[in-house]
Assembly symmetry: C2
Homo-oligomer: 725 residues x 2
Amino acid sequence: MTKQRIPHFATTEEQLCCADSSSRARCRIAIGKSLTLPSCRASFFAQTCCVVLTLLVVSTATADEGMWLFDDLPLDVLETQYGFEPPRDWERHVMLSSVRFNSGGSASFVSSSGLVLTNHHVAADTLHKLSTPEHNYLEDGFLAKSRGAEAKAPDLELNQLVSIEDVTQRVNAAVTGEMPTAEAYRARRAVMARIEKESLDKTGLRSDVVTLFGGAIYHLYRYKKYTDVRLVWAPESKAAFFGGDADNFEYPRYCLDVAFFRVYENDKPASSEHFLKFSKDGAQDGELVFVSGNPGRTQRIFTVAALEYLRDKRLPWVLNLVRRLEILLQQFSFEGDEQKRRARDDLFGIQNSRKAYTGMLQGLQDPAFLEAKREQEEKLLEQLAAHPRLSKYTDAWQTIAEVQAKQAERLGQSVALSRRSRLYRIALDLVLMATEDQKPQDDRLREFRESARESLEQQLFSPAPIYDDLEMTKLADALALLAELRGGNDALVRTALAGKSPRQRAAELIQGTQLKDVEFRRRLAQGGLEEINKTTDPMIRLARSLEDDYRGRRDVAEELQELERQAYARIMEATVALEGTGSYPDATFTLRLAFGTVKGYVENGQTMPPWTTLGGAFEHESTHSAKGDWQLPRSWLEAKAALDLSTPLNFVCTADIIGGNSGSPVMNRDAEFVGVIFDGNIQSLTADYFYSDTISRAIAVHSSGIREALRTIYDAPHLVDELGR
Amino acid sequence: MTKQRIPHFATTEEQLCCADSSSRARCRIAIGKSLTLPSCRASFFAQTCCVVLTLLVVSTATADEGMWLFDDLPLDVLETQYGFEPPRDWERHVMLSSVRFNSGGSASFVSSSGLVLTNHHVAADTLHKLSTPEHNYLEDGFLAKSRGAEAKAPDLELNQLVSIEDVTQRVNAAVTGEMPTAEAYRARRAVMARIEKESLDKTGLRSDVVTLFGGAIYHLYRYKKYTDVRLVWAPESKAAFFGGDADNFEYPRYCLDVAFFRVYENDKPASSEHFLKFSKDGAQDGELVFVSGNPGRTQRIFTVAALEYLRDKRLPWVLNLVRRLEILLQQFSFEGDEQKRRARDDLFGIQNSRKAYTGMLQGLQDPAFLEAKREQEEKLLEQLAAHPRLSKYTDAWQTIAEVQAKQAERLGQSVALSRRSRLYRIALDLVLMATEDQKPQDDRLREFRESARESLEQQLFSPAPIYDDLEMTKLADALALLAELRGGNDALVRTALAGKSPRQRAAELIQGTQLKDVEFRRRLAQGGLEEINKTTDPMIRLARSLEDDYRGRRDVAEELQELERQAYARIMEATVALEGTGSYPDATFTLRLAFGTVKGYVENGQTMPPWTTLGGAFEHESTHSAKGDWQLPRSWLEAKAALDLSTPLNFVCTADIIGGNSGSPVMNRDAEFVGVIFDGNIQSLTADYFYSDTISRAIAVHSSGIREALRTIYDAPHLVDELGR
């Protein structure tokens, strides 16, 4: 499972969202989960977390590089390089056929009745939440034999991008050059909030202002939002994640990493006018293909100082946290089969993160890479210094370096409680909301504005199960971590521990809180600040006692973020002035189009084929003695004789993708569905910083493999029939 | 397996030995291995690593607390509390029956023909080194059906303590109060070296000066040394480490954690005049028992500042390293069955360390514990301050605090290459030796003195297999760690990486070095500095280029160590002056006697029995569905019908033990063997800092279980017959 994790760290914003308890739990991806941004309310993620460094990548786009905006596709490149000219409304059809999982993933409509195809690992969070000790859908799979049997996800939100509007002028008009950093940040935040609110009021559509090219462009994206999302089919995790952690980010692969949902409106399957038809035979070797999805974040504009911060501080720090959580969850899983089931989704995500971050760090630790970047940067700085009008811009690099130094100092101050404990996250949200709701819209923390209320409440009042034992284990570790980071004598640590050991305190909090009861949460939310101040619920009291510290750190983080944003905007300006306008902005967890060709590669003298087959999966199983994660599910073994073993299962292409692209449809020129992205190979993990098509590849499940599996293994002819209808 | 790890961190000395590459690989236990101090040449460990803080624990010894010196047993306590008066020569008999594994463990003679009984996990390093892809003795066990089939361990050294001499006066005479710290350190080191050298020359016995009571007493310990050590029997790891990592440090337990060796002299079984007879029925509930072994290190005298450093800096730091290595080895093991075999011994050790350190940190993070320590310390400081003659002593606490602060700064500077890569360790030793050998004895680094030469060479020229893939994985990670700690731009990092990525560089070094060839090592050692300077071997060149940095950091570490040593000595003086002489010194990986009673306990309302049975092992297996680490080996299943299932297998007692005690014999009043220590329960992990007999317990394999297993499961009647003969 999992791949394409959102490479998500290294900026003030990220630190705000992910390392701190700051805007955090929603962004626990940083040490959380695969590409799926689980528990991240992606609205805020898209708006708050990802937009900061969305900068024009200038004059470097080559070959199949690029995550292109739908309103600005590289038509000349497609024409020159591939002789392809999209027919009229091609982009609009693809855009409307694309779906975003707000929890952090991509997908597409594949029938006119609201059928949505994505990855099993994008669905994993929902599979986990729908499971019980009796029915483990994550492990055993799920199939609704009829529409009535489709199972409602407790807290999914799917978004369909329906319009793009340029609002750059209006945003820029609100911020003047004389404003101090913090004021500029507030002013920008305020005008963006007003634009969103007006749009929501006017259209009823989810409306997000997205910062592109580091603030050179602001887009207003309007989404049709689906919150009644039902599970239709998912295979066993043994099929979806065949080869497990060991095969993750490797190729050749043999994973059926696919799941189906259906969106409903008024308790009926939604009608999806735009959807992708299933290609008859899928894509051929060398064929041009397109990927439509929501890449989370790239950092291709980063300065050397920012990359060094990543390499020397941020990634080592994050990896320590990731490994800590991995071991913790492994140990918890030892306690029994039910514990294993409870921790499994978390553990998969964390292993995926560890592998991804390790790969990224290895890329950065190759001296050759940073040397090349340094040379490039030095050359640019020399040109600027020699330029009469542009020399003043060189201070922006210095600002970035200073911000990195401050980030490094802040690394050790994190309070990670909200990222580990869902109950604490709920408590903190309720506590913050009580105060934020009393403020004017513009002054509120972003996630508490009216435009975001529905998404917030969906998470806050989610009936998804919360397991006391797992919560206790994670909260105890988070409290221990807090004590380690700040030292046992720190006043805040003493407050948090209340004289107990981390384990005793966590047990007391989890056993004592009523927040497991959704109705109790609703009552607290309705009661506002008065109710929050009155309740004796220990988790609320804890969140209340840590609130000031949280707000203080978040303020600092947001100020650093604004400083960085402004500096990168200046770097963009200077670069554009020198080298002309560029090609595509860094990723923002919003809809982009990538393209490339189906293509194998040679690694260490070994030829990797463009695709693998169903038969290859059985061979791969026997090569590994059908041990551990290399056991195919029983359903495959039973169906083997009936299967066409030559059917392609996975394939690779050169399209430029990254975390967030999981579940993205792969299409041919006719916008037919030929596959679904689920991973990148290990060499693609440096795609955060640079694209290469030498041996970096996106990995997809082949359309033919999906169809053959549904028909012959999963006994779901009704789904096969529905595809493309 | 594993338990009783040597809780080994937190002091300058330890940092020198374990976190740095400094005196390091020999002490990789800190992030290395169970109680066995694997790869640590315990001579240096005992002398260099463990002696620093060996301080009188004053006026706190209660109940069964204490790791007593053999020449100063608490006869009054034994008399008053247990009505036991040891017969004439009892201590001497027990002392001469006790054996130390220089690699970090304890054992005893159990026959007159040199038969030595210890833990399977003490033997694991040897089992691993004797194994091949075809014969996996660690997993599958080993039995020599005849003496001729006994298998020579490649690099074991066993020590039998034969005499104790007080040399305090001579050591103290060499150091005057006016000497600066560094000079005092050198002077002390020099006189200790002279005493050792003279003793070695005179007696031919291994001679170690051991610092006790923080320097209040120095003992010269003389050991008969055995280097021809042969493996006689070991069970399968499934029996020895039944329940695996999950059951580790837990009770009730069901582990046959036992192995036999035999020491040889002149190619014949050595005659062991003193040995322990096997008790007929083992120890009964409530019976007084004794434990004779080599506890590694305790820190019961530590000041609050030292404990806070452990809690807030040192342990979190070490745990990050431990978890990093654990994940690395897990990933390596995924690559195949042979990789799993190669990494297994390392992985077991690391998991054991992680669990032990986690338990210790949890103990320290309980605010109640440090509050109690703080009150005690404040009271003592008040009494001192009010005392006309003793008030000057209070600065010692300040010195300790300052040293901790400096240690904290040094944490991030470590170069851990030598702890991860055996080949680099060998290279560094050869490089250091070339220079050290040109100096006068007294000026040399301790491990290069003549008195230590034999032990050094045994390690340096060990034919134990070195696996390229595992070495490469570990060295690449160590290089990456070095880059993370110092930053990728650091000059030393650039030297170490030589323009390559950590993985490329590690591959180049491991593939390029000739150090795998023992003869090449010998030639380099014989060739001295000239040969070292001449060789183009890339590993030697790397060690040479990092040598200055290594020596510089080691100097600083040793100075900090001396400062700390002197401060603790002053604390001792002051405490003794106030409260009178105390009881037993902190542990020093030298022979001690502990005592206690066989006794169950109550935990969370649940009664833990004083012992478990062979039948209980089968029940425990079925409770866990015979899955994962809860599978008994086939030999047990086949023998089940013939076994007396009521035979005791493991038992617990209140004796005061710690890492290094693994393999220690448990004896009754008649000095008969009744069991062998192999673990402590999770509550005992805080024994580093304080002893408690409420629910902390030492866990041992019962003598009756050993005999029944040998007879009925392992078909080894000849060994049963030999026991006690």
